[in-house]
């Protein structure tokens, strides 16, 4: 093992004298493989030396060496792999690599053990083992089986107890080691898979299978040894045995045998423990030994699998309750509570007398073992709710009384468990009824405790102790029945005053569970529980604790302090305080009044206030620095909660004075006040739990403003991790499931999340919430639901620079690129959601069922129609407007999403509501262009391929069909094969089917074209089909020719090449009629023609014409053809800019009325980027071998394609003949527009108002059908980036292996891209790189919105290269 991998944690452990074994000693080692001899020297050898020695080996020794080399290799691999994994995923190292003089390798330790085991009778050896070898070996999380013989020898021969303890420890490790690929359950430094090493005979050939039986034999012999002097070792042997994997039935049955054997002897001891005495000290020897054995046996039993049907098992577990050893009692209770879940009747019967007062179970109440009492609570709960025991109410009530006594337990853990049990929470599978019954119990039960339990005074924390003492004192004093809820409330309130975070967290969790039970009670109709009823109706007068407000000596002091603080707060820079706090302060001027009333109890508050005041005065009020903000944030939070607290106390004081405090509602209100103040806790997890509790305690009819404001102010705290926020969102979801009435409230709350922290929340989670709430919400709620979703569309696009400013409450804090991405996903989710659920918006309400016939004329005026539509359904209109805005301002991914959303929207809107058609068409036409230009990812193409044919064949409006058909054709031309053939098939079907259906359905149709009939699509489609026909025919010919040439090994003649070239040019001409294609790059005959055409061009000196290289097209096409996975996401910045610029300029185009400027811009654009376009693509194209690639594609596609089937069916099925009143409109449009097929948009079909609305009329005049090659096409090139993206070319890989290895390097080194950092960026992970604004960078490659960049010189953190967000880099 070389030193770099073998010296991890070891380095830090003093390696001073070191075992330094002499090689001579190794002869005596119990496992004396020769390999051991040289391991010491080998362990320092570098891998190179190791391999060289193995190469040179000829003899046996050489062979062994090679095995050893394998061992080293494996060990190195495992460790370094594990370390590497940890470095990258966890950004931590196992240990820093410090160079020590004496690193101790595993092999050295192993060798030392072998040697020292042989001389274990010598003191020095023992010392070595105890102080050096064993502790260091513990660093490795497993030990290899070859150590077992030495360990067993030590076990048998050694007397030293410390050595023996280690021996048991390691034997247990060997037993438990499941050998799972180097990482075993023990954790620690990863160690190799020993068995795998043993198989290759590298560690002396010892596998676990060899040694485990020996170890088990030895240990079980010791575990059964009844010798009294031996019993300490017996305990440890038994313990080590339990580590054997449960899958080994042989060992398991042996263990059962031993455990029951021990319990047979000691379990039935005649001498029971004295009442309430645990852990006897100074008892007689026999009983002590007995107790120890009982402990060991039960501990082992606990680790064995449960055996529910076995009476012996149950009997032994029940016996355990009476044992003297507290740990044994705990284990037996744990076993029993698990058994009770399976067989409550049996357990209850077996426990029999133990539960009665004075029985062993009652003793457990005084046992100082928290987990034992927790198990007792569970046991009691399981038995009391068991159906099987319905006929034995006496037994149930006995267990119930034990459970209620546990409510008074000094430990929060036990008390809370008891509350959980009362509330009906057992595991997470309980039913609503149980929960509801739990709430009923909690609110109704009056505790009539048989006696005040004498509580052990040792509590887990000081304040709980006080509390329990207080309640104890009281119950001693009064002995009157207590309402359960009051007890619980008081306990909870006191817990909330704790300073321990776990206690606060747990208390909030209890409140959450309370809320769940309450919600369940409401759900099953127990809501008529009158929470106003006085809980003390049965008991005597109200508790006087909180009601005495005497003269207040501190009032003046507090008043002065409060004034002072308010003054300071006002001086405080307003923008640095959260809005809420300001309002709160202003609104709560009466805060001073409260202070004037505070009693002496608030003297503590006055101290707190004075402390705050000092803090305020210390803070610089005029300097804006980020840390100030967080400080002021927490300050203001604590002040607020203090105010809340004081206010609550005041309210409760007043209400208690009037006697209404003791209603359930009153109790809950005061508890909730305390809960709310806990939001001030600085631990974000506690706060999350509190918020969850508040959400659960929220009732539908209550005002949720307070909750809303708490959440809103919490969310402005940047320290919330995303997972926690999503967890809270899921809580909202669960809350909705429990009480569907709350849909609206919850949506409002979810909306806060969406607007405040869009970057942190998971779009999927939010969508889930929307979905369920929308489905569950009533008619009124739907409005809110849609509103809540559409609000997301209003979120402003993130500004990378905004992170420099202060995060204000109202602004979206999507400041870093990661959250910007998340925000984008959120917007996309919202759009999808709107589209998919538009039927709610469109059909379920507000829309009139049919347009009155008289309005047919009015329908011509789209403006009015839209206005009418909007007034009828403002929600939907709002959604559409937002969609539209999104489409125009967002990045193109968002735009695509929007299109599809719109498309779904269109699908789901009933036919009678076609007034919205104009909205949609405007967006569609625009977006389809973007999409056909940017067919970069398969995913979108697939969606479109299913969507567009639908639009073509089914949609009533001709314009949509035209646009869709155009889009399809453009896609067919510009994208690669899987789509082209599909579209081709579809268009064919449409053209033919349309004609047929026209004949058959003529009489059905009331004037509107239904299929692709003569006046409709038929005319339009046939030229498109012709083009595709020609392309395929030419390709077929080419492939045939290539085959012929290949077969005959003939060179291509100039004639042939010329013919080919002409076909190529002709096709180019035709194709460019339909859409813009870069002539130099486009290959209508497929990539295989590239080479030939190139040859011809070079021969005849034909230079490629305009549009030198169009990376957008090249990448678009190549992506489709050569990548089966979606292309990496484009950087958004560039996209946004270009799209925006484009959108902004569109108005000009429209106004000018011709497309020349657009064309020139296209060319400028292309020329500019063309110079930078790398040669990689060229290489790839050239390197493509002449294989009929397209042929292959076509074959596979023709054979099976579900998509195609769909397309075909939708194409040929006769369209629904939906009655339409819009004959006039359709003829109007039909007459006007369809000839302008090759203008990319239909012109003036009444949608002009939309285009105006969207910032400029992009709809220019019609262009004539045949304008010849290179005609100006109004479609502009897409925004594109990173032309240097090297794509994967499977053909290149197949054809030339040598290319493969060189290509990546060449791609990166030949085309370095440079840029500079726009902003400061601090790395968030190991693979990221910190930037300082202005730094020069070399961009290596891009992945998912990140650049991998290199710096010229290392930064402050010493790193040279790493990932940075694309948005932070200005590409030069």
């Amino acid at each position: 093992m070389d030193s770099s991998s073998g010296t991890t944690l070891m380095d830090l452990i003093t390696a001073d004298p070191g075992p330094a074994p002499k090689s001579a000693g190794s002869a005596e080692a119990p496992t004396p493989p020769a390999s051991q001899q040289t391991t010491g020297s080998m362990s320092y050898a570098t891998p190179a030396t190791t391999s060289s020695s193995s190469v040179s080996g000829k003899s046996m020794l050489g062979e062994r060496k090679s095995k050893r080399a394998t061992l080293m290799q494996i060990q190195n691999d495992t460790i370094s792999a594990a370390k590497a994994a940890m470095k990258t995923t966890a950004s931590i190292n196992i240990m820093p690599q410090k160079q020590k003089k004496n690193p101790v390798s595993y092999s050295q330790l192993a060798r030392s053990i072998h040697e020292l085991a042989a001389t274990s009778d010598q003191k020095s050896s023992q010392k070595q083992l105890v102080h050096h070898v064993f502790p260091k070996l513990a660093v490795y999380n497993s030990v290899d089986p070859s150590l077992a013989p030495s360990l067993l020898m030590l076990d048998q021969q050694c007397e030293d107890r410390t050595i023996l303890r280690y021996v048991y420890y390691y034997l247990a490790r060997i037993l438990s080691d499941t050998g799972s690929q180097g990482l075993n359950p023990g954790g620690g430094i990863p160690t190799p898979n020993w068995d795998a090493l043993a198989d290759i005979d590298a560690v002396g050939g010892v596998t676990r299978a060899d040694v485990v039986p020996r170890i088990v034999d030895q240990l079980s012999k010791e575990a059964s040894d009844a010798n009294v002097e031996f019993h300490a070792r017996r305990l440890q042997a038994l313990k080590a045995l339990t580590y054997a994997p449960e899958s080994n039935t042989g060992i398991l049955s042996r263990l059962y045998e031993i455990v029951f054997g021990i319990l047979d002897k000691v379990g039935d001891s005649s001498q029971k423990r004295k009442k309430g005495v645990f852990g006897t000290k100074g008892g007689d020897k026999e009983s002590t030994i007995q107790s120890n054995l009982q402990y060991a046996a039960l501990s082992a039993l606990r680790r064995l699998p449960l055996d529910p049907g076995n009476p012996a098992f149950l009997h032994r577990a029940v016996q355990g309750v009476s044992f003297a050893d507290p740990v044994a009692v705990r284990h037996s209770l744990e076993i029993l509570s698990e058994l009770a879940a399976k067989d409550p009747y049996g357990v209850a019967m077996a426990l029999g007398k133990l539960v009665v007062p004075g029985g062993a179970l009652q003793d457990v109440l005084h046992l100082h073992d928290v987990l034992a009492r927790v198990s007792l609570a569970r046991l009691c709960h399981t038995i009391t709710r068991a159906r099987a025991l319905d006929e034995r109410p006496d037994i149930k009530s006995q267990f119930n009384s034990v459970l209620y006594q546990l409510l008074l337990d000094p430990s929060e853990r036990v008390c809370f468990e008891a509350i959980f049990c009362v509330l009906g929470k057992h595991d997470n599978t309980e039913r609503t009824e149980e929960r509801a019954a739990g709430w009923y119990r909690l609110t109704r039960e009056i505790l009539k405790l048989p006696e005040a339990p004498s509580l052990s005074s040792k509590g887990s924390s000081a304040d709980s102790n006080d509390m329990s003492k207080a309640s104890k004192d009281k119950s001693h004093k009064t002995r009157r029945p207590q309402p359960l809820i009051k007890l619980v409330m008081r306990r909870l309130e006191s817990s909330f005053r704790s300073f321990s975070r776990p206690v606060l967290h747990a208390a909030a969790r209890v409140v959450q569970e309370m809320g769940k039970s309450r919600a369940a009670a409401y759900a099953v109709g127990l809501q008529d529980i009158d929470e106003g009823v006085n809980v003390n109706a049965f008991s005597e007068s109200a508790d006087p604790v909180d009601s005495d407000f005497n003269e207040n000596p501190y009032a003046d002091e507090v008043n002065v302090l409060c004034n002072d603080i308010t003054f300071q707060l006002c001086k405080w820079q307003p923008q640095k305080l959260r809005l809420e706090s300001q309002e709160e302060l202003l609104n709560k001027a009466e805060v001073q009044d409260w202070f004037s009333q505070v009693s002496e109890k608030f003297s503590a508050a006055s101290f707190l206030l004075s402390g705050l005041l000092i803090l305020f005065k210390c803070l610089p009020g005029d300097i804006c620095r980020p840390y100030d903000e967080s400080l002021s944030d927490s300050l203001s939070r604590s002040i607020l909660s203090l105010f809340c607290f004081i206010g609550a106390r005041k309210v409760s004081a007043v209400s208690s004075a009037t006697g209404s405090k003791d209603t359930i509602a009153g109790l809950l209100a005061s508890l909730m006040e305390v809960v709310r103040t806990t939001v001030a806790c600085e631990c974000v997890y506690v706060r999350a739990m509190v918020i969850k509790a508040l959400i659960w305690m929220q009732l539908p009819h209550e005002s949720f403003e307070e909750l809303e404001s708490i959440i809103a102010s919490e969310l402005s705290d940047p320290s919330w991790p995303a997972t926690l926020l999503n967890d809270v969102l899921l809580t909202l979801h669960a809350r909705f499931k429990a009480t569907p009435d709350m849909a609206v409230t919850l949506l409002e709350i979810a909306r806060i999340f969406a607007t405040k922290v869009p970057g942190k929340i998971d779009a999927d989670v939010l969508q889930l919430l929307w979905k369920t709430c929308l489905v569950g919400a009533g008619p009124d709620g739907k409005h809110t639901a849609l509103e809540a979703v559409t609000i997301v569309l209003d979120l402003p696009p993130p500004q990378p620079g905004s992170m420099l400013g202060l995060t204000s409450v109202d602004r979206v804090s999507a400041s870093d690129p990661k959250s910007a991405l998340a925000l984008q996903r959120l917007v996309q989710a919202a759009v999808w959601f709107l589209g998919e659920n538009a039927n709610y918006a469109a059909s379920e309400y507000a829309w009139e069922s049919a347009t009155p016939p008289g309005t047919a004329l009015m329908m011509l005026d789209a403006d009015k129609m839209v206005a009418a539509a909007s007034s009828r359904n403002p929600t939907l209109a709002g959604a559409l407007t937002r969609l539209q805005r999104c489409a125009f301002s967002g990045s193109w991914e968002t735009s695509m999403c929007t299109t599809l959303g719109t498309y779904y929207l269109y699908q789901s809107i009933p036919p009678c509501t076609e007034t919205l058609f104009y909205f949609i068409l405007g967006i569609l036409t625009y977006l389809l262009e973007i999409i056909v230009l940017r067919v970069d990812t398969l995913e979108w193409c697939v969606s479109l391929c299913s969507g567009l044919p639908f639009l073509c064949s089914k949609v009533l409006k001709l314009q949509v069909r035209i646009v869709a058909a155009q889009a399809l054709t453009t896609m067919a031309i510009r994208s690669g094969e899987p789509f082209r053939i599909q579209i081709y098939e579809f268009l064919n079907a449409l053209a033919q089917g349309g004609v047929q259906s026209q004949l058959s359905e003529m009489h059905l149709s009331n004037g509107e074209d239904q299929g692709a009939s003569g006046t409709g699509l038929g005319v339009l489609i046939s030229p498109m089909v012709k083009v595709l026909d020609e392309m395929y025919r030419a390709q077929d010919e080419l492939i045939r020719d290539i085959r012929n040439h290949d077969n005959t090994n003939k060179e291509w003649t100039d004639e042939e090449l010329k013919k080919l070239y002409e076909t190529h040019e002709r096709l180019l001409d035709i194709v460019s009629l339909f859409c813009y294609v870069p002539r130099a790059k486009y290959l209508p005959l497929g990539p295989i023609s590239a080479k030939l055409i190139d040859i011809y061009r070079t021969k005849h000196n034909i230079s490629a014409s305009a549009g030198l290289s169009d990376p957008a097209v090249a990448t678009g096409i190549s992506d489709l053809m050569y990548e089966s996975k979606p292309a990496p996401v484009e950087p958004d910045a560039l996209d946004d800019d270009l799209v925006n610029a484009w959108a902004a300029n569109l108005g000009d185009d429209g106004l000018l009325g011709n497309s020349a400027p657009a064309m020139s811009r296209v060319n400028e654009f292309l020329a500019g980027m063309g110079t930078e376009a790398p040669d990689v693509e060229e290489e790839n194209i050239i390197s493509r071998p002449s294989v009929s690639y397209d042929d292959m594609w076509a074959k596979t596609l023709l054979e099976s394609s579900e998509l195609e089937e769909d397309v075909r069916s939708s194409g040929s099925s006769s369209p629904d003949s939906i009655g339409s009143v819009e004959t006039s409109i359709s003829s109007h449009f039909g007459g006007m527009n369809y000839p302008s097929l090759f203008s990319s948009r239909p012109t003036s079909y009444g949608a002009s108002q939309i285009s105006e609305r969207s910032g400029g009329s992009r709809y220019s005049g019609p262009s004539s059908f045949f304008e010849g090659a290179g005609s100006p096409i109004r479609e502009e090139p897409p925004p594109y980036t990173s032309p240097d993206r090297s794509f994967e070319n499977p053909l290149a890989g197949r054809g030339s292996q040598s290319f493969e290895s060189q290509e990546p390097e060449r791609a990166s080194s030949a085309n370095p891209q440079y840029g500079s950092a726009l902003y400061d960026f601090s790395a968030g992970g190991d693979d990221e790189l910190s930037l300082t604004a202005g730094e020069e960078l070399e961009i290596e490659y891009e992945v998912d919105g990140w650049f991998y960049v290199k710096k010229k010189r290392p930064g402050r953190d010493g790193k040279m290269a790493g990932l940075v967000p694309v948005l932070y880099v200005n590409q030069s």
Partner: protein, 147 residues
């Protein structure tokens, strides 16, 4: 189930880890989650001041003792309060073994004994011994209750 006991130094290097019932592929996630929690919150906190975190139904309680950070992870009956008990026992034993809040060096010097202590406190994902003296006897191979 006590899912994990993890001890790291203040730089996030893991000194001891004991996972129970955590699949191997999840361990590195837990490691980084815990180490990050410690790095975010434990700097400058008092000795043995308890911190809490949760992830779904799994609870984490963590603290600092001397130079080392200590995390325990549990679910079901090992909720935050039970974990607080567990961490209390572990810190008490570490204190006992090291005789003071340990520096990293001291901790590593006592590494073997601390491992044995942990072995007595957590046995196959279940809390075992809770008393300091008892643990002390057991790691010296003496019976839990004195004769």
């Amino acid at each position: 189930m006590l899912l994990a006991v993890l001890i790291s130094n203040s730089e996030g290097n893991i000194l001891i880890e004991r996972f129970n019932g955590v699949p191997a592929e999840e361990r590195s996630h837990w490691r980084s989650f815990l180490v990050k929690l410690g790095a975010d919150n434990l700097k400058g906190s008092r000795n043995e001041e308890l911190f809490v975190a949760s992830h779904k139904s799994v609870y984490v309680v963590y603290t600092v003792i001397g130079d080392v950070y200590l995390y325990v992870v549990g679910k079901d009956e090992y909720d935050e309060l039970a974990l607080a008990e567990v961490i209390f026992i572990i810190t008490a034993s570490i204190r006992d073994v090291c005789q003071k809040p340990p520096s990293e060096r001291l901790f590593l010097d006592k590494y073997g004994r601390i491992c044995l202590c942990l072995d007595e406190i957590v046995w196959k994902g279940v809390l075992e011994n809770t008393e300091k003296e008892r643990i002390n006897r057991l790691i010296r191979l003496k019976p839990p209750t004195n004769i």
